[in-house]
Symmetry: D2
Subunit: 355 residues, 4 copies
């Protein structure tokens, strides 16, 4: 920690700062510049509230934290990329594991919501044939308005499991509240934490304890730093299998539903060893832009994509405007594979089991 004194700070102000540092059991090193004085703090542990307390002392201009905050999610202490391996529970024998964070790009696809058994089976078959390795589908849906469709609940989870049993696709589905973690965990292969729950810390801890991989969608206006801190909450419970999913942030621009922060890919890669995926559908909000954003994400270095695909998007119960059809997904997948190859990645062939 460094305390930057203002140009008008006097000797008393500086001594006051030094006393405050020492009273926390730390050492203070003073550098006197021509215009301003700086006090460097040496020692550990630094009490969490010290920064705020120092900032308000007279003569202090600014307090800068130095030490790395990401003990578990940060790359400083874990230089190698984390690979998450998932064996879809109850999949047909011989189903290969899904690996996230390796050389291969992981493509997750499926509808926004599980609407019926028929719809999810048709979705699963379609996206699997096109090359997806995991199936998304919401059984519990957070909706801005209480008057909209909110998902089928456990029935939806059952339909997802049926789709997995037939196709071998891993399942990812959202859990919205700590009380649901056990039930959802009986079905899902990956817990999805939605953007609106990205700082629901008790939920993060609960999925941390559940011992299955967790995908953390970025909050609507979440800093990358806060995102890594959310991962710390999960990992501090002993769960190392965390992945990020960039799904667009909220900005002033209204031409898209959100603004895909594609830079988050290299930023996260630099700060963290955890995998990061892109959700082009929520970022775009419009079907016509899903292709471009998918390819941009892969080119930027993302480890995978999560794309909304529906057998009949024009009649989808939620997110229809940003959902592509199975046919469109079939056209998109080879493009993804081409860009993946261009950046030295692969898209796994998935024909082994089902065909």
């Amino acid at each position: 920690m460094i305390i930057i004194m203002g140009p008008n700070a006097d000797r008393d102000d500086i001594n006051h700062v030094i006393d405050r540092v020492k009273s926390s059991g730390l050492q203070a090193h003073v550098i006197e510049g021509e215009a301003q004085t700086i006090v460097g703090v040496v020692g550990t542990p630094i009490p969490p509230s010290l920064q705020e307390n120092l900032e308000t002392l007279p003569g202090v201009n600014e307090v800068v934290r130095v030490s790395t905050k990401f003990k578990l999610s940060g790359r400083d202490f874990h230089p190698h990329n984390t690979r998450i391996t998932i064996n879809p529970q109850g999949a047909p024998a011989g189903t290969p594991p899904v690996v996230i964070g390796g050389d291969a790009i992981t493509v997750i696809a499926g509808p926004c919501s599980v609407e019926s058994e028929e719809q999810i089976m048709e979705s699963a078959r379609g996206v699997r044939a096109a090359g997806a390795v995991a199936l998304r589908g919401g059984a519990y849906k957070p909706r801005t308005s209480p008057y909209e469709f909110r998902g089928l609940g456990e029935k939806g989870l059952e339909f997802l499991a049926k789709a997995r049993a037939e196709t071998g696709l891993a399942i990812i589905t959202e859990v919205m509240t700590p009380a649901d973690v056990e039930l959802v965990g009986q079905y899902t292969d990956i817990f999805q934490i939605g953007a609106r729950n990205s700082q629901n810390y008790l939920l993060l801890e609960e999925v941390g304890k559940a011992g299955k991989p967790v995908m953390l969608k970025r909050g609507l206006s979440m800093l990358v730093e806060e995102w890594l801190m959310a991962a710390e909450y999960v990992m501090a419970q002993g769960n190392p299998d965390v992945m990020f999913c960039e799904r667009g942030i909220r900005t002033y621009e209204t031409a898209t539903r959100n603004t895909l922060d594609v830079s988050a890919v290299p930023v996260v890669k630099k700060l963290s060893h955890l995998p990061i995926l892109i959700d082009p559908s929520h970022a775009a909000g419009k079907r016509a832009f899903v292709d471009s954003l998918s390819l941009a994400g892969i080119a930027a270095g993302a480890d995978g994509l999560m794309i909304e695909v529906h057998p009949d998007p024009d009649h989808a119960l939620s997110d229809g405007a940003q959902t592509i059809s199975v046919d469109e997904f079939n056209i998109l997948m080879p493009k993804i594979a081409a860009v993946a190859a261009a950046v030295g990645r692969t898209v796994p062939a998935t024909s082994a089991v089902a065909d």
Copy 2:
């Protein structure tokens, strides 16, 4: 609902739209302009997914929703301001009720976190003497990092209740998860829903069922529309006593912790009949700006303030940098009263019980 066709839309495109509208049991009225055609939708109910589904039809430029979405929180159907009356539970006999949304400005004050019995008692006495009518204090604290102080839990609630029993101050404290609603409800007079939980819909419904007033802090990048929708979640459970609290939104500007959206006061007043308060402390993030923002909020028409006050802010366990001392609060209160008077409001005298 209105469908705006693009300038290149042809007759087939328009018919396609009309068919889609009629297949939902609604009527379509076509207005043909010189450059573009518009289709107006008449009838109810409009299926929630219709807008998204229409947006993707060929030739459609834009779909605009018309009907009022805020059935319970909106002013259209409830023209008169809601007043929320709270009788602090277990307060000394003769304690006057706290009324939020009336002529009087409601001032809530207290520390960020309940740190100890002594700290909260001293806070309560201090803010009460200065004119506050309710006491804030977190027993369960959402923290960005899992390695920081997270509150005393139920012990903190007990200390709050003791402070109320002595001072007559109403209590407001945050509840973070549905499972805690019952316990927190045994103590608190007002449930606070924090910014990070502003779209935690299951929590909103749970406090909706609990039958006590609820304060909805605005999410970090929440639209005013989404805020009213969050209120719909609470109110749809039969709880009419909802109030808003603007605490700053996240913008590009870093000179303050958040950007106080003071315009939200008249905007909410126009759209909704529910009271709105200002939290100058979280908006500013710095003690030096709390006075200005408090006064600005009252001048803009807010129904009250929630201010972080601590007996010794320089040693606070959380939010110290933005917390003012009891002495500073004593200096601020008369300024609040003066501005309140200037805009035709009052600040209630609170000396009846304690003195």
Copy 3:
């Protein structure tokens, strides 16, 4: 300047940084913490590009600037508030000067655009009678679309001068390009630099040379720091009479045209000695919110207001939706005076000359 090394930086990295600092003629002080090393830079002048160059050296985590950047606009070296005194050019004898930045609140009012002699005369008489001391009105209008009304040009300036000659109101009008500074300067008492030109540095220098007061509107997404830097551009040309005008920043919220950053008032007051005004009209974008924002600005400590007022706003050629009528302005002025009084400010009586 402080260089914060990463936890994995080795001795070579640190020596590399030290060499780079010394090669710029500066001294380097090293503080070795348990986890990380910090290098403090002492000496002057620090080359402007040094920070960027150091940031890319191996092992460097972050470089923090320390020295005060605001040599002329900053409060560090000019602790007392600047007062700007304006004697409206060609006003009737006995017209009192307009003082901005003193105890009195300065209210500037008038239409968005000068539309005709009649319109500006009627506006001037109306706002003067209500208590304004200066008249706004655009002769050169920046418009988002090239197909909209762009002002009357010099004819508009002449009408403004006529209004001043009759009413004694000082004039403020926008100048959009360096080539117009001389002409506009022949008429105006205050140059207005619009939000879109807030970083048009050649224009800032040109008005800096022109020797008349300058109002700097904040750019749509301008940091307060950049705003003070824009003032540096003007002041570095020898012109000390600069004032700021907060007119709302661009955020994700769409309920208002812009988001009034009322916190900018105390932030600017802390960093700078220059006056700051509020433009509630452009911030709100809607007439109904102008009152609230005006009062909020004054309560926050602003030195004045610039309000769009038109004799017939429903037929205004620009900005009609956010413009109030003269009648509404007459109702607003006493409210402004009341809030001003509540925060220890006054609104000058203007009846001396015209009545």
Copy 4:
């Protein structure tokens, strides 16, 4: 234009709206829904201020514009992509033209500022050998602070022309003010309008008259709609050769200097027929992220890149932190070519002349 009445609007309110529409020489069509009434406006031309004027009438909830605003830049009336062909002025005989907006990706590279003849010659040779077809370099630099390096002026333009004469690279350089357009136009092949001047309308018109291609960088918080409107300003002067350059927008995220809005590529492609390029350097602000953003831009469908490259970025006078070296550019170019090929584009071989 459509006027959406509020649910409480009465017959008088509706008649008032109809009268206002008719008094502008237009027709009003009324659709009465069960809850609300809509008034459609038919006819042309619609006066620019009508929308704002209608919005303030009693009972009106919202006014929605329908007609296409982008007469020249919009795709509605120009369905085919614009290709801009540039023959670098004074380049060696046989230099092939630079085509922007065709199948080939256009790579522009060079330093932030022209610092010396040697530096720009070395840059030009380096980027040409690696495959760039145009050279960037600022002779006039907009800087946030008046105390920083602001470019060599005309001397810088001369150095650029020398570099072109030797290498055949087209030149792009920024013009900051209308008075400089003639001089800069004597040297440059493409006028660059910087982000800070993106709504400097007089400058846009001046380059519109100058008859050379214009690159419009996106303003820091410019809507895509406003960007197209800026293009309208240029094109309305008779200049059809306009291209866009996305360089990151300002958001709350601080991990990068700006947030690359990669979605702007497909959005602009949908709305407009003009080419769009990506500037990964200003978006990232950090050298380490330039590769990822370059590739993301091409994958998203951009027509080209403008990248900051310097022979010795660690000693660059400006933007060093975001500038890559010639060696790094040599490594990046084949990656760009690979991603371009993956999306069906090419990178032109440039060896014809110089080798």
